[in-house]
């Protein structure tokens, strides 16, 4: 055996069929330990199915996978895994701290350490002063925070977060980002299912894009976005000469007064500006940006004609 610990998640051609319908037909990915991993895809792509397979909530039809080096569903390994489901529901007839006490008992946190672990988990998500309140009295956002506290209980090595900010306000989203970064800082891996691509781009080191039950791209954020860059300008008086200048530097698209030159690099900006001034174009603003994850996501999932593909398999 090699000295390095196994990956947090490793899957090979993992597949799940529901009757004739394939919810997932080729999930092949690796999530290293201690990394924040973004799992992206349109609705119905198979993201939640993949998470359920990895947690042992559903059984794969074919393929293989290990989680923290153990086969799927391994009971001891589940002690080290936290999970916040997308559709989170907890025992609404119990006070928050008792829901956590129940989970602490299931994980096997020693009795002497339980109280402190529960208090830490609730404080960590901002519910410390509501620990004695019934879950049924919580708002949706508070219940999601409670779910996060449950997922973080017992310092898991791997945490699955399925749309963890869907019910949260901007402050809550900021808090969750800090929590996720805190998890990675102490060496835990985070598997983040999210539609909020700007959030994913901000916190994740690596991402995989899944579509129609298969991974269509995966890699580090840098690899995913590549070196492709865009220069945006707000100008007037462009004319044919000015337009020809822009097209020398890349592919031009127009959005109102803004022009985007896909392929133009940051280093091209001085020459571009000089050439435009030479062509009597008035320049109001120039910004050089890299393609966003959202643009890359759309590029992967929406064909050139701009019409999203039929998602029904």
């Amino acid at each position: 055996m090699s000295g390095s610990p196994p990956a947090a998640i490793e899957t090979a051609a993992l597949a799940k069929r529901f009757g004739a319908k394939a919810a997932l037909h080729d999930l092949t990915l690796t999530v290293p330990r201690g990394e924040i991993f973004g799992f992206l895809g349109p609705n119905g792509a198979g993201k939640t199915t993949a998470v359920k397979l990895l947690l042992g909530l559903a059984r794969p039809t074919s393929g293989t996978a290990t989680v923290l080096g153990a086969p799927l569903g391994d009971r001891e390994t589940r002690r080290k895994i936290g999970y916040l489901p997308e559709l989170f529901r907890y025992q609404e007839w119990l006070p928050a701290r008792e829901v956590l006490a129940f989970h602490a008992r299931l994980i096997g946190i020693p009795h002497a350490r339980r109280k402190a672990a529960i208090a830490d988990a609730l404080d960590g998500v901002g519910l410390g002063d509501r620990r004695g309140d019934l879950v049924g009295t919580f708002s949706k956002g508070m219940q999601q925070r409670l779910g996060l506290a449950i997922a973080l209980l017992g310092e898991p090595d791997l945490v699955f977060l399925d749309e963890p900010t869907s019910a949260l306000d901007p402050v809550g989203r900021h808090d969750v980002r800090a929590i996720i970064e805190g998890l990675a800082a102490r060496g835990a891996a985070v598997f983040l299912n999210s539609h909020l691509l700007t959030e994913v781009e901000r916190v994740c080191r690596r991402v995989a894009v899944v579509d129609r039950g298969a991974v269509v791209a995966q890699g580090s954020i840098d690899q995913m976005l590549g070196t492709r860059s865009i220069v945006r300008l707000r100008v007037d008086g462009l004319g044919a000469r000015g337009r020809a200048v822009l097209e020398r530097f890349g592919t031009v698209t127009q959005d109102g007064a803004w022009y985007a030159i896909d392929g133009a690099r940051d280093a091209d900006v001085p020459d571009l500006v000089a050439a435009l001034v030479g062509a009597d174009v008035r320049i109001h603003a120039v910004e050089s940006t890299r393609a966003t994850l959202e643009e890359r996501f759309l590029q992967l999932l929406v064909p050139a004609d701009g019409v999203a593909r039929d998602r029904v398999a």
């Binding site: 947690l55 589940r78 529901r89 096997g108």
Partner: protein, 278 residues
């Protein structure tokens, strides 16, 4: 498993209906005891009153057994199915517990509650009648044991169905089977007295699939005073057409079968749930 059992017991006991059941039981015991006192006082001689009281206790026992059966199905059907439907299991099952422990835990928690309620409410009713009229059935503890077994059979059936079906469907199906078992018991008795072997076999099979009616008859036997049994001997086999009159208790073989039935039905539920995607 004990964590699941404890939580399940607390959940059922903490619902608002637990208070309604407690108040309803207290009212039922109070009213029925008052009725016993009034009816007993209006019948003379005392021996005739005892016969009336024994008959009324059996009718009360029947009402109680139906309430218990419905209550057990009501408690057990959503115990697992409801948690699956609401999504609560999504947070619980990824924890390091086996699906078997989860099902057993749910069964243990709900069974403890239903059995405790049946014993306390039944003992309360019989004690109230005993104190107010002086009448006590011949084998009260055996009768309560049969009633508890009948309720637990319903509970096991509804819980096991709920490992695969939605909560409402599980409850309705369990109650339909309970009704079918009861009707089969009556049909079987009629078939026996008419000597119709085919119907008798069919109803015996139904009684083996749903043992609740035979367990109810065990409770009736335990509640019947000696004079009822003598009267049945005089009437011959025709008396057993009546589901409120039984000449003999369930056989040992049937009780062994019932024990195996519990294991099998719960085992099917466990196997169902172990394979189920949630």
């Amino acid at each position: 498993m004990l964590a699941i059992a404890w939580l399940s017991l607390r959940e059922t006991a903490s619902r608002r209906f637990a208070w309604i059941v407690a108040i309803g039981t207290a009212l039922a015991v109070g009213l029925s005891t008052w009725g016993f006192v009034k009816l007993g006082a209006s019948v003379q001689p005392r021996a005739a009153a005892a016969g009336l009281e024994a008959g009324l206790v059996i009718f009360l026992g029947f009402s109680f057994s139906v309430v218990l059966a419905i209550g057990a199905a009501f408690v057990a059907a959503p115990a697992i199915a409801g948690e699956v439907e609401r999504g609560i299991v999504l947070a619980v099952l990824p924890r390091p517990i086996s699906r078997t422990a989860y099902v057993f835990g749910k069964w243990l928690g709900t069974s403890a509650l239903v059995a405790a309620y049946a014993l306390v409410a039944g003992a309360l009713e019989l004690s109230a009648i005993d104190v107010s009229t002086g009448y006590l059935p011949p084998r009260p503890f055996l009768a309560l044991a049969y009633l508890v077994a009948e309720a637990l059979a319903m509970l096991t059936l509804a819980l096991s169905l709920g490992t695969r079906l939605p909560a409402i469907a599980s409850g309705i199906l369990a109650l339909a089977l309970f009704g079918a078992g009861w009707l089969a018991g009556i049909a079987g008795a009629i078939a026996r007295s008419l000597g119709n072997a085919a119907i008798l076999h069919a109803t015996t099979v139904v009684g083996l699939i749903v043992p609740t009616d035979v367990l109810w008859r065990g409770a009736v036997f335990a509640l019947e005073p000696a004079m009822f049994l003598v009267a049945q001997d005089d009437l011959g086999s025709g008396a057993s057409r009546n589901p409120f009159a039984v000449a003999a208790p369930p056989t040992t073989a049937f009780l062994v079968w019932t024990a195996l039935w519990f294991v099998a039905v719960l085992g099917i539920g466990v196997a169902n749930f172990a394979r189920r995607d949630v």
